[in-house]
Amino acid sequence: MTVLTHLQRLEAESIHILREVVSETERPVMLYSVGKDSAVMLHLARKAFYPAPPPFPLLHVDTTWKFQAMYELRTRMAKESGMELLVYQNPEAKARGINPFDHGALHTDMWKTEGLKQALDLYGFDAAFGGARRDEEKSRAKERIFSFRSMNHRWDPKNQRPELWRLYNARKAKGESIRVFPISNWTELDIWQYIHLENIPIVPLYFSAPRPTVTRDGLLLMVDDARFPLRAGEVPVERSIRFRTLGCYPLTGAIESTATTLPEVIQEMLLTTTSERQGRAIDHDQTASMEKKKQEGYF
């Protein structure tokens, strides 16, 4: 009798989901954000279709404000996986110089939410894999693994298709699409442990190192490039920091840490007293902010 561990069961479930989408949709794509969840999702895709490369491209909806180290890993992983990498930047956001310092919530809306919709429409993708997990946030906990989107990319949380057994309904009308979350049932600890066990490459920013930082609005921010507008009297201070999640560098809070290995990172995570998304400015706007963003088309 072989008792499968929880990670083996989760891995098998994710691979099954990835294969269902490839079998039942016309033009799938994997949203690749270069974070740890994306890293695991990409690794699972490579397992699912081995010895073939995953039969879909990677899509990075770029904001031009990601950490430099993320752009480096993005290039490397596309090469290693043998997959096509599509990078999309919302031309309107670019033309209007939308940035996280001056435009606040508009930055996320235009680069990410609008950028994603534009990219999906441009390429005509009818299914997009995303690395969201149900343990991240309350509205995520209720979202289906195959999450249906209207022609306008809207999510209707009150009218979701029931999802039973291992049966996923991928049928849709022309113009409609589905977002698929193959790692829905993984927790943050599962992700870290899997990365550890499988030796999956991740952005070095997850590990602690001395980095130039400033403290602003309660967040510890890293000065990743010369575009960071320092306020009067603000001088970057070198601190030993790392990140629990990665996004646009001006919006992603770091934590002070000495964890330089994966077990140390996991140790810190397990002993910490705040949740993962706490370092993200985006969730704090209002109580149901994520649900609202998701209805509007945010991943």
Partner: protein
């Protein structure tokens, strides 16, 4: 209140702090238990789950701070922490104070990792509970100690039983509100046992708890020394799992995807639904019945010596057998059944009621077929478990039905395999999932008939005759000229050296179909048999001509669906009713008009003309000889 710090044993803080590698090693080998909580509104489901998360230290400080703020703002527990707010996620639910959808929550202890589906207790949400239960290994049925066994308790227990959950926990909640009264608890358990026996629930584990106060959640409660059984969390940690039992069943792999990265590799990918498999094992491809041998179990981490139920794998086979998505690879000496008509239980999940006779998509495992549901045999009142007569099934209704599919399904009874016995129905127009179903058994002749794989294939038969097999399906009113024209066409084809056979309506009724009359049902069966015979003849490589009135579009389409694309040529011999009646070659119209012949097409039974026939012959504008010539030319044989 119990000492909630005992929950810290479930997070092993000391081990994490002192030896993270040892902790990771331990965590890596934990098993996974998926369970659901069900109960009526206000039985305290969300509170219980919130409590489990809280006591297993899965709540972070920022979440706790938000929870305390929310509790004061919208909570139902005064100044106390309202644990339910931790799990009631959607904005709409928070306002209504009820859980309206299935939510999944995660926590872990030293021994296990848990995924819990929080399913609602509201009457109209049967579909959500069935959804949550379909992936659960265990169900916690909550009862409010003040109220005892309610109608909803019966319904949830019945649904858990229906969906095949074998591990049931009866959690008698809110014991703090009945003064931790042992007699009250015992009376409720006795009451429930009587009900459980009546619906065939063999065993359940009962325990008195308080989710709000934390009694018997992580440790035995000092408030109820009379209870000597396990607390809830230790029970969930120790209960035996069904998942390993599937490994002892015969091997089944529904093929999801065929991997063809290059000409030298052809792998069959899927999730092993039962059994185990090793290189060298003989497997049968269903429904074709072909047998081959497994050569490799391929993974990115290297080939495996063995794979077991629950793993997603890719297999390669020794022979070039036909096998694609929807086929099932199975133990060669113990394959599953193949059938196209079943008895099943349906749980209707759509606002649009079931339309008997309408065609829905049916998805079972990786198989997608068209299916028709007949008028329900009966509906089950989930509160009283009575069988009620029903013409349809509405949202949340459960009924027993006959399901007929357009192609054979590889299946097993749901009781034996959820993967090969559980299915969903999808509306062809809206694409919504409208029902969940559980197959019980195959009906009629299709049961236990395995397709014998033959070495001389239909392609070989056709190649030897140097022709493309076809069915030339002549349809039209009685006396339109179907037989006459079909006969001429066959003569021409014969002269061209083609191998043909003409199935004539009258002739077939003298033998094969002499037991059939002219009611609608008999006409449909008549056409079905002719279709099957024609199909066998095309398998033999023949060009088959059929001359039948075949008045119903659905049956002609049924025959079309039996054949490979392009092999069914529908030829409408189009003659006006008045003209056919004027000719009346066999004197049948006269008899029908006189009332001596019942159900005569065109008189008192309808003729549904083809909408898009491959060929249409207007007999008013063309002689039979010319019509035959045109048909042969159109075939480009």
């Amino acid at each position: 209140m119990n000492d909630t710090t005992s929950g810290s044993s479930y997070k092993a803080h000391d081990l994490i702090a002192e030896n993270i590698d040892a902790y990771l090693e331990q965590h890596q080998h934990k098993s996974l238990l998926r369970f659901i909580t069900c109960g009526s509104v206000d039985d305290g489901k969300s509170t219980l789950i919130g409590r489990l998360l809280y006591d297993s230290k899965m709540i972070f400080e920022d979440q706790l701070a938000a929870l305390e703020a929310d509790s004061k703002r919208v909570g139902t527990q005064g100044q106390q922490i309202d644990f339910a707010l931790l799990v009631d996620g959607l904005a709409a639910e928070r306002e209504q104070g009820i859980t309206i959808d299935v939510a999944y929550r995660f926590f872990a202890t030293d021994r296990r990792k848990f995924i819990v589906a929080d399913t609602p207790g509201h009457e109209q949400y049967t579909r959500n509970m069935v959804t949550g239960a379909s992936t659960a290994d265990l169900a916690v049925i909550l009862i409010d100690a003040r109220k005892g066994v309610l109608t909803q308790t019966r319904r949830h227990s019945y649904l858990a039983q229906l969906i095949g959950i074998r591990n049931l926990v009866l959690a008698v909640n809110k014991m703090d509100l009945v003064g931790y009264d042992e007699q009250r608890y015992k009376a409720i358990v006795a009451d429930y046992r009587a009900f459980a026996d009546s619906i065939g629930i063999a065993a359940f584990t009962a325990m008195p708890i308080s989710g709000f106060m934390g009694d018997n959640i992580t440790t035995p409660s000092s408030n109820m020394p009379w209870y000597t059984g396990p607390a809830l969390l230790p029970h969930l940690e120790n209960v035996a799992l069904d998942v390993t039992a599937a490994q002892d069943q015969p091997f089944r792999l529904p093929v999801q995807w065929v991997s063809r990265p290059n000409l030298d590799f052809r792998g069959f990918a899927g999730l092993v639904s039962s059994g185990r498999i090793r290189p060298g094992d003989a497997v049968r491809v269903l429904p074709s019945g072909k047998v081959s041998t497994v050569t490799r179990v391929v993974t990115l981490d290297g080939d495996l010596e063995e794979a077991v139920a629950g793993q997603s794998i890719t297999l390669t086979l020794a022979d070039e057998v036909d096998c694609s998505r929807g086929d099932v690879l199975a133990a060669a000496d113990n394959p599953p059944q193949v059938a196209d008509q079943f008895e099943a239980t349906l749980v209707w999940m759509s606002d649009e009621p079931l339309v008997p006779g309408r065609s829905y998509w049916l998805k079972l495992g990786t198989q997608n077929v068209s299916a028709q549901i007949q008028t329900p045999k009966y509906q089950i009142n989930v509160n009283t478990l009575e069988h009620l007569a029903a013409k349809t099934l509405d949202l949340n209704a459960i009924g027993v039905v006959t399901v007929t599919t357009d192609k054979p399904l590889v299946f097993e009874p749901y009781a034996a395999s959820h993967d090969l016995g559980g299915f969903i129905l999808i509306d062809k127009f809206s694409n919504g999932t409208v029902a969940a179903g559980m197959l019980h058994f195959a009906l009629r002749r299709s049961q236990n008939v395995h397709w014998q794989a033959l070495d001389i294939t239909r392609e070989a038969h056709a190649a030897q005759k140097q022709q493309q097999p076809r069915v030339l399906w002549f349809t039209g009113l009685s006396g339109a000229g179907k037989s006459t024209i079909a006969n001429l066409v066959e003569k021409k084809l014969h002269a061209l050296g083609k191998h043909t056979f003409l199935l004539d309506g009258d002739n077939v009724r003298h033998g094969l179909n002499k037991d059939l009359g002219f009611t609608d049902a008999d006409r449909i069966e008549n056409i079905r048999r002719v279709g099957e015979v024609a199909k066998l003849m095309t398998d033999a490589g023949l060009i088959v001509l059929t001359a039948f009135i075949s008045p119903f579009r659905a049956e002609r389409d049924m025959v079309r669906a039996m054949l490979p694309a392009g092999e069914f040529i529908e030829i409408h011999i189009d003659t006006a009713l008045a003209e056919a009646e004027r000719r009346d070659v066999k004197g049948l119209y006269k008899k029908a008009r006189a009332g001596e012949l019942k159900n005569f097409t065109g008189i008192d039974s309808p003729y549904e003309a083809p909408e898009q026939p491959e060929i249409r012959i207007d007999t008013g504008a063309m002689l039979a000889e010319d019509a035959a010539e045109e048909i042969v030319r159109a075939l480009l044989l």
